[in-house]
């Protein structure tokens, strides 16, 4: 069992449908990951996620395709610090 880690995912693409944040929250819930998603604009979403590295990878993989209405061009993952500022996985406005 690997130690939990924290990643910041910077997701770029076309997100006009507005479906993506809920979709990411659902996926994070299925994978039992903690963190948040924040929409920067129609082309940029930030995610901070904390949990098992295999499950973090699974979240990143699912986000690389997303719901049909969005187009994901790129995801950049960087190591981050977990501040326990949220419980569960939520969208922050």
């Amino acid at each position: 069992m690997q130690d939990d880690i924290t990643l910041q995912l910077s997701i770029c693409g076309q997100f006009r449908s507005g479906e993506f944040p809920d979709w990411i929250c659902h996926r994070a819930g299925v994978l039992n990951l903690a963190g948040w998603v924040k929409v920067q604009d129609d082309t940029h979403i930030e995610v901070l996620v904390h949990g098992n590295p295999v499950l973090l990878e699974a979240l990143e993989l699912a986000c690389s395709i997303g719901p049909y209405s969005v187009t994901v061009d790129d995801i950049e993952a960087t190591s981050a610090i977990w501040t326990k500022s949220v419980s569960g996985f939520v969208e922050i406005i």
């Binding site: 979709w23 659902h26 994978l31 990878e57 699974a58 993989l61 699912a62 690389s64 997303g66 049909y68």
Partner: protein, 282 residues
Amino acid sequence: MLGLERAKDDWYPVAIAGSMGECESHTTRLLGFEITLHGGKNGAISVNFGETDLAVQVKFDHVWTTFCDNPRPLFDIPEGDEPGRVRVPCGVVRVKCSPLRAVENFLDIAHFPFVHTDILGAEPHTEVAPYDVKIDESKNEVIATKVKFFQPQAAKSAGDGIVTDYVYRVAAPMVSILYKTCPPKPEAQDVITLFVQPLDEETCDVWPWMALYDYENSMADMISFQQMIFVQDRSILENQIPRKLPLDPRMEIPTRADMTSIAYRRWLKRSGALYGALTEAV
């Protein structure tokens, strides 16, 4: 229908070259349309759709056809032409699933220990090590490299278990090519392909083809080995719900071991190759 027009621009396999006698004919389906194959002189095969003659070409020992006057060019497999290889068309297997599901399954290694038990995989060797997947923009293909998996009997020519190296290539929405360790010739790679004829969105004919370095086994043995593998896959493909390939993985749980599958779906989505795909989550 989503993706039909795009799908009509590709070439599809419909027969093994030279497999029909002169004056022989039979009907089959392609993208939901009935087409008729006719055997001509010297093993030539022509294809009709109603009153229209469709374009035909022979490549990789198969007859390929298309509905399009200006189709996307058929891909190449340069390794297939190397001297010394035995080129083996393996016949056809009908599967009640989306043609895209047949390709996706062919790109999957994690099922080997459970579906091809003691042949292509065996417990406890179930771990899928990290590998690389990318969409090659210049060729517009999906490529997975550095794929490694322990296999008890990787090929008809393999003796004991070995760690097999794989490279996967999706050269068209309904074509998958794999290159894998060739047991009798470690510096080379065997080529095994899956050419899929979409009968409709939920039924396909699969035409496996191989170009191998194998001088010991008979053609019949190599074919029956590959057919056995594919019949095992069919038991999975006909029992996946839904029958079409969902592009939204909301109702699935992909992990790193499914990276090639997700890259394939991304590529289909980006290319608008939606024939046989579901765009809504189910």
